[in-house]
Amino acid sequence: MSLLGTSEEKPAKFWAFIAPSEPIAPNVQNAEWPVNPIDNFILDRIERAGHGPSEKAEPRKLVRRAYLDLLGIPPTTEQLNSYLENKDPNAWSQLIEELLSSPMYGERWGRHWLDVARYSDSNGMDENIAHPEAYRYRNYVINSFNQDKPFNQFIVEQIAGDLLPAEDSDKQREQTIAAGFLSVGPKMLACDDPDKMRRDIADEQIDTTGRAFMGMTFGCARCHDHKFDPISIEDYYGLAGIFMSTKTLNKYSVVAQLHHHDLSTEEDKERRNKITQLEKKISTKGIEEDTKKKLQDEVSKLKKDLTPPYEVLAVTEYPTKDVRVHLRGDYQTLGDTVPRRLPPAIAGQIQHPMPNDQSGRLEFARSIASEKNPLTARVLVNRLWRWHFGRGIVPTPDNYGTLGEKPTHPELLDYLALEFIHSNWSIKSMHRLIMKSATYQQSAFTDDSLKKADPDNQLFARWKIRRLESEALRDSILFKANLMDLKMGNSMLTASKHKYANRGKLSEHIKSNKRTVYLPVMRSSGYDGQNAFDFPDPAMINGNRNSSTIAPQALYLMNSPLIHRSSNSLAKIHKEATTNVSISNKINWMILHILSRPATETETLRIEKFIHTYSTDNEIAAWAAFARTLFASNEFLYIE
């Protein structure tokens, strides 16, 4: 059965609502340059603008770019050399495969998705309640990227994983955890008006789902027909019925509590039931001492080695209910009832009615994940492009509506979207395709006329350098100081569910040597250093992080405990690694280690002077200061 429209539906005019069609890769003058069709689309524009592509970047720059881009940390000197020494013509492909199979890949690219999922380990907003079980969703995202889970499956699991059939309990857990996507959003939890609270939560879920997967701003239609996009107020309340039939909270009175699933094993559940029964018996009046003792023994036996309940933060179902249109968004001024349904602009005019025994989330999820949905594949490939290049083909990755910007390369976008669908929605296939292109391998050094003509790099005629994100920066420093703990993280929260998140612990969390993705994200709070480097507000989806240059970043790199701890640690490693070598070799070691290139002659002289004059009695302090300087340098901070 198809939920999608037939020929009777009115054609949507705006480009984003027209399904992608197979574009033909254009012929180009410089026919030698293209490696794959991406390059034809890119070069065609470059040539038409009267320019040429940039040269291929030098190998050591490419290695560093690939490591930082895919793993979020620079290569070690050994890794760098092993690539430079590999004379196999497939060396670049081999490197990409190696990086894609590293578990660090999911930690890097899963974090990109967590920006879109507005992931947080606490509620923020008015009552900052802890989400001690949310980390399961975070780790699910990281694992899904590492497994290259087909993205259409990833979509359905996140919107309706709790409703999917599961062959075993592990699968059931995984799918239910995925539906935490809908639960981790920000909510006003202390509201004296439970009706408003329910509607606001549904609204947040509709808006996030629409923007994350389809770049659609459904939220605008809560009060009136969307002014720019083909979404009517009825369409909105058709979706609202689906989310109002979805249960996110257990209790709406102040302070409201989030729903959790207990997915403990049957055996554990039985044991817990039995304990409850026995404890009830023990506390009955007039129980004989002997019996009591026996029962108590039995209880302590049952309690031994009993694992804590396996709780999952995720939505579940309510009895289904269609809702009435709220005129001007006010739930006290109601219009007609709208049956639960999907917006015709994405699912067509003719739709099967929604089931009576389910909210319709599963139908919504499948319609988003359908290859016939004109938006979904385009939105995701554009996100990947944005995260690789720092700029999307559609420069507004979270908004494909009329007020978003149009694609600079519409045919390329369609080509990538269809390739993505043909590859069974494999994200790793897209990385291979993109990174093997000549476009990706261009140098950042290019002639001035191109930079002047195209400062934003809309033509993609060069590599535009971009600053490391806050996590990649912290991880790179810890990694280079040999301090990083590479094991996957669990929850660091100490607060239990329904209790307030403890902000006081943030200063403890940040001392951890785990990768930054594993530090708890707290809404309406956060780590000063991470915030300074544009860590986005986790209350809002963000597929296009800011990259600012502000003085607090400089203060962080000059004065933070991280930078001093790391540079001191590295100075000690450096000392051991460079005994009995000349000072110029010592300098070279450090530059190679941090910047993945040998030192130049001029800088060697300059640094030698620096080391000698920095401190007369404490050489290790001078080397630490030198390491600090390199960590703060533009060459370290930017992906080149």
Partner: protein
């Protein structure tokens, strides 16, 4: 040409900007440093009096019925039921009317009523502009606090300090444009000083700690010898300059080089401003930083003045915690004592320095409290009618605008919603609130959303 599809203007490099600007580098804001993003709002600086704001936030919701809004009917009907229905949505169960336990008198030429709890503020009423008809939409701390700070109790939105910082930029190269001193960590937390979807440089910088040690994050260099750090920055500059020769026309790289110099200067400037121990004895006496109950908040108010006079656009100080559900008499007495002298001292000090003319002081909480009792010595949250006051910054002084009903429950005459307050504050700063917009998620957002009217009657 294809490139025309894109709406963004070509970013200027720093050099372009300096060349094109007659004001030169010194006038560029620290946080908006070297960026080309400028708001679309029309500024009318000729009308604007206020250049900066100091917001004295009374967290928890002070009972303004017991401070500034005496009611004869409430006094007469003490213990009787409220003669009309209570609101549909309330946060706690309440009983009958509770008269104010404190006496009121009129003060100054303006004849403003102030209770005996505030002997110092009552002496400066002719400098104040009372807003007796405030109201908001949310009956809980978190919701109302966010509504007061951001205009929304539903979504994450930029704080008013961020909007003002975005609209006007900083006056000082060496300090952030929006600083909040010891803000509440609960009830919205950084939501109350966040830039939300505005570029992060417009967000608030939090100064933590107690009055002994209030400081900007990472401002202290762990190396005791500043000349050592100078050497590091000199080496860094050399490395970065070398790198820049290979990456011409990149304004990010250029501005980052400058950012280290700014940070270094900030490190030298900020501790001076943060060090309030240099204040003379008469100032300490004026604010009450020399005696027990007032010292803590007084020091924060002095810090606020120092930051403000150094050019920080928006400074917030928080005093807490006014949430007297059960112990109104003792709590409000204690809190008033802590707050009264420092607030009056700050306004007097600003006036003496000639700063009050262009500094807008705002005093108030996220809501007021009910005229009906909770238990026998408490009041519940009341978002329907309460008092705030402003001083300086182009407001009319010695006036009382608006009023609540006979019992002080609802704003009755000339009601002022938080949206109207925001519109008025922006207006006082020369910004038309309907024109200060930022495009996000497909629409142009404002501090006042689709609401807000400027209260012209309070503008001088």
């Amino acid at each position: 040409m294809e490139l025309c599809l894109n709406r963004q203007p070509r970013p200027l490099s720093r050099r372009d900007m300096l060349r094109g600007s007659s004001i030169g580098f010194g006038a560029l804001a620290l946080n908006s440093m070297l960026t080309t993003e400028s708001p679309s709002a029309t500024l009318s600086p000729s009308i604007a009096k206020a250049k900066r704001v100091i917001f004295l936030f009374m967290h928890g919701g002070p009972s303004t019925l017991d401070l500034f809004d005496p009611k004869e009917s409430l006094k007469k009907n003490n213990g009787k039921p409220l003669p009309y229905d209570k609101p549909r949505i309330v946060s706690s169960k309440t009983g009958n009317l509770l008269a104010s336990p404190w006496n009121f008198k009129q003060y100054g030429q303006s004849g403003a009523w102030v209770s005996e709890l505030l002997p110092n503020i009552s002496s400066i009423t002719d400098d104040l502009c009372f807003l007796h008809s405030m109201h908001c939409s949310n009956s809980r701390h978190g919701g109302a606090l966010l509504e007061l700070h951001t205009g929304s109790d539903t979504f994450t939105r930029p704080a008013m300090g961020s909007w003002i910082n975005y609209g006007l930029g900083s006056e000082n190269n060496n300090l952030p444009g929006f600083i909040t001193i010891n803000p509440p960590s609960s009830h919205g937390g950084s939501g109350a000083w966040s830039s939300a979807f505005l570029p992060p440089r417009y967000g608030g910088t939090m100064i933590r700690g107690n009055s002994k040690e209030m400081k900007i994050p990472f401002i202290n260099n762990p190396l005791t010898d500043r000349s050592k750090q100078r050497k590091e920055i000199d080496l860094l500059n050399a490395l970065n300059q070398e790198h820049l020769t290979k990456h011409k026309f990149n304004s990010d790289l250029e501005s980052r080089i400058e950012s280290y110099e700014l940070a270094f200067r900030m490190q030298m400037t900020a501790p001076g401003i943060q060090d309030i121990s240099a204040e003379p004895a008469h100032i300490n006496k004026l604010y009450g930083s020399d005696e027990k109950p007032t010292a803590e908040f007084a020091k924060q108010c002095i810090m606020a003045r120092r930051l403000s006079e150094s050019g920080v656009r928006f400074v917030q100080v928080t005093h807490r915690y006014w949430d007297s559900h059960g112990n109104l008499r003792a709590e409000h007495e204690k809190l008033s004592k802590e707050m009264d002298k420092p607030v009056a001292g700050l306004i007097t000090d600003l006036k003496q320095r000639g700063l009050l003319d262009d500094t807008l002081v705002l005093w108030g909480g996220e809501f007021g409290r009910t005229p009906v009792a909770q238990g026998n010595n408490g009041r519940d949250h009341n978002p329907h009618g309460f008092t705030m006051f402003m001083a300086g910054g182009g407001t009319k002084s010695g006036i009382q605008y608006g009023s609540t009903d006979d019992y002080g429950y609802h704003a009755e005459k000339n009601p002022i919603h938080f949206h109207d307050l925001h519109a008025t504050i922006l207006g006082l700063m020369g910004i038309n609130h309907t024109e200060l917009t930022y495009r996000y998620a497909g629409r142009d957002f404002r501090l006042t959303d689709v609401h807000g009217k400027v209260i012209k009657d309070v503008i001088a």
